[in-house]
């Protein structure tokens, strides 16, 4: 269950019903969301929750929007099925989210997935879903507009989080996970330096750059030749008002798909 769901879960049932009614009333007056078929709106579908939602408020200083294997399978249009594959290094709760890193007025969101079989530790895991119900109807969106975050241990974004970088594909996964792409956004203009460490050794650095609030930025790390194991991605810097910025993302690099 995601943090959103858990937080909602803490509320009494009557209050939840009240909130739902109020949300419906206001959503009824939400014209740009109403342009879409109600069937496209975020709801439970088979083995997942999926659909479009209103644009989110930027609630976190720095947010990880996507952690993907660098290689992507080209696709001019929406394939019939999309698949996410990731390596789970230990038996831990898995929270998979597929989303648009730069939301428009509404944005695509998929989470609360129920895998066909329980996630397996120290193994590659896969989840697939049909694009027909939602994605194929979003004509202004393509596969490249999607980001994936597979959070481990906790569903919420936090200053220090653990993720499993995933491959997003439709027929064949990339031959080897040769590199990773991490996409973040800050909620205000900030100067950000990104580094990746194995233990205490720096293996990658993205020079300091000014990132505008809400504008996603990506760092791409070529991991070829790097040994298997846990790595730490560290973001440091400060916001325009001198508030320090810090974030750590732990991930496991598995050089082979086997």
């Amino acid at each position: 269950m995601s943090a959103r769901a858990m937080q909602r879960g803490r509320l009494p049932r009557s209050r939840r019903r009240g909130r739902a009614l109020l949300a419906l009333l206001v959503l009824g007056a939400l014209p740009l969301l109403a342009q879409y078929d109600p069937k496209l709106q975020y709801q439970k579908r088979d083995n997942r929750f999926e659909g479009i939602k209103p644009k989110p408020v930027s609630g976190y200083d720095v947010e990880l929007l996507s952690a993907l294997v660098a290689e992507r399978e080209p696709s001019a249009s929406w394939p019939h099925t999309l698949r996410v594959r990731f390596y789970l290094p230990a038996a831990e709760p898995v929270f998979l989210t597929v989303r648009q890193p730069r939301p428009k007025t509404v944005y695509y969101w998929l989470d609360k997935v129920v895998p066909p079989t329980p996630w397996r530790a120290m193994a590659w895991n896969e989840f697939s879903w049909f694009t027909e119900p939602v994605l194929k109807q979003l004509t202004a969106t393509g596969v490249d507009d999607l980001g994936v975050v597979v959070r481990l241990r906790q569903s919420d974004p936090s200053k220090r989080e653990t993720v499993a970088p995933a491959a997003l594909f439709h027929t064949e996964p990339p031959a080897v996970p040769g590199g990773y792409r991490f996409t973040f956004k800050t909620n205000g203009t900030a100067f950000v330096t990104s580094r990746i460490y194995r233990g205490d050794k720096e293996v990658f650095r993205r020079p300091q750059n000014q990132e505008k609030g809400g504008s996603p930025f990506t760092l791409s790390w070529n991991a070829q030749g790097q040994p298997e194991g846990e790595y730490r991605l560290e973001l440091s810097g400060y916001f325009a008002d001198n508030t320090p910025l810090a974030k750590e993302v732990l991930f496991y690099h598995r050089p082979s798909w086997k």
Binding site: V26, A34, P56, K104, G214, S215
Partner: protein
């Protein structure tokens, strides 16, 4: 009058009883019909012409009408411009240099910017014109003036918006607030630049240029010939995103004046981290009823959510960037089929009721007075004629 038992009542008495009932019915019927109607009209909300004045950090709207329209002033000078979702960027440079990313001197505090020492720059031999391609979905280009003291790097091109297309305006918080403008239709923009420009590129490929340094994030410094100080930006299929930091001279007049944009839909809501729909209002907003000036305006508090839909004849008549508040001040009006606000757990329909439209409508007031006058005069004449006949 009732006749004696066993006798048939006189003919005149038989007629008198129903006549009394009719009189009673005549008295009760209008009240019985009108009272529920009046009560109903106080609950019956109708399509209402509303005028909204508000400050928001984010405004999304769909352009109405049938013609392409402009939103921004015709010559917006900018001190920095970020372009997302571009397809290619083309310009001619007399001299072009690229900086060694490893030699970047990071900024250490506010008011400072990271910079490259003189030794970090390496001259390139560009073909004219130089074409940068940004096919990667993460591609981004930032234009600034290499002189940190300079306030302006260039002037924006005129941007046309197609009818039916969605436009998203958002304030990017910073010491100098910037405006994020998302356009969903393809664009080709020609930006007029000054003699020098610095281009920070992220996932942008420099065409055939042989690069001395590796990295996705590279910074170029270009000297542009006087005859061709234009940088052409071609967007992707689904439009682009521009983050404009206006130069001081343009901050006060970023948008066209007078602005008269037809709107098909407007949205002022966001979703919080719990998934609840919330307000994007930055300050108190005012909702007026321009057709009924006597009805007091509604003040919508900052935390309240506001939803409008089923808009017709809507137009955006005022838009300005307020750098002090870090917000957009917006003025628009239109006839709304739905207008609702939500304050905490309470939702309210802000459309007028039928009763209000009748009560505050001058024409209806006059007609009602004339109708009442007609009824009372007719009744008086009827009674007078009746008395004359009886007497």
């Amino acid at each position: 009058m009732i006749g004696a038992p066993g006798k048939r009542p006189p003919r005149g008495d038989k007629k008198a009883a129903p006549r009394r009932w009719l009189t009673l019915l005549g008295l009760i019927l209008p009240t019985a019909v009108l009272l529920p109607l009046v009560l109903l009209s106080t609950f019956w909300h109708v399509r209402t012409h509303v005028l909204l004045e508000l400050a928001t950090t984010r405004l999304a709207f769909t352009l109405g009408g049938t013609e392409r329209r402009e939103l921004l002033d015709r010559s917006v000078a900018f001190s920095s411009l970020v372009v997302e979702k571009c397809r290619s960027v083309e310009f001619t440079a007399e001299k072009l240099e690229v900086a060694d990313p490893r030699q970047l001197v990071p900024a250490t505090g506010p008011g400072e910017a990271p910079h490259f020492p003189a030794a970090a720059w390496r001259e390139l031999s560009p073909t004219a014109p130089l074409k940068l391609t940004c096919l990667d979905p993460a591609a981004k280009l930032t234009l600034t003036n290499p002189d940190p003291a300079a306030d302006q790097v260039g002037i924006l091109d005129r941007i046309h918006f197609e009818p039916g297309s969605q436009v998203i305006l958002e304030i990017v918080p910073d010491l100098k607030p910037a405006l994020s403008l998302e356009i969903e239709t393809p664009q080709e923009l020609n930006l007029h630049l000054g003699p020098t420009a610095e281009l920070a590129t992220d996932f942008v490929r420099p065409g055939d240029l042989k690069m001395p340094f590796k990295g996705d994030l590279l910074t170029y410094r270009a000297w542009l010939p006087e005859a061709a100080r234009t940088l052409s930006v071609t967007s992707g299929e689904h439009g682009l995103v521009l983050i404009i930091t206006p130069a001081r001279a343009s901050a006060a007049q970023l948008f066209r004046e007078p602005l008269d944009l037809p709107l098909a839909a407007v949205e002022l809501l966001e979703e919080d981290l719990e998934g609840t729909v919330n307000s994007a209002l930055h300050d108190k907003a005012t909702l007026r009823y321009p057709d009924f000036p006597a009805i007091p305006a509604v003040t919508i508090e900052k935390g309240q959510a506001l939803g409008l839909s089923g808009l017709s004849q809507a137009r955006l008549s005022g838009l300005a960037l307020d750098p002090k508040k870090g917000a957009l001040t917006v003025r628009f009006d239109g006839i709304a089929a739905h207008a609702a606000t939500k304050a905490g757990a309470f939702a309210a329909d802000q459309r007028l009721t039928l009763f209000q439209t009748l009560r505050y409508n001058g024409r209806w007031g006059l007609l009602t007075a004339a109708f009442l006058w007609l009824i009372s005069t007719t009744k008086a004449i009827f009674e007078l004629v009746k008395k004359i006949r009886e007497g």
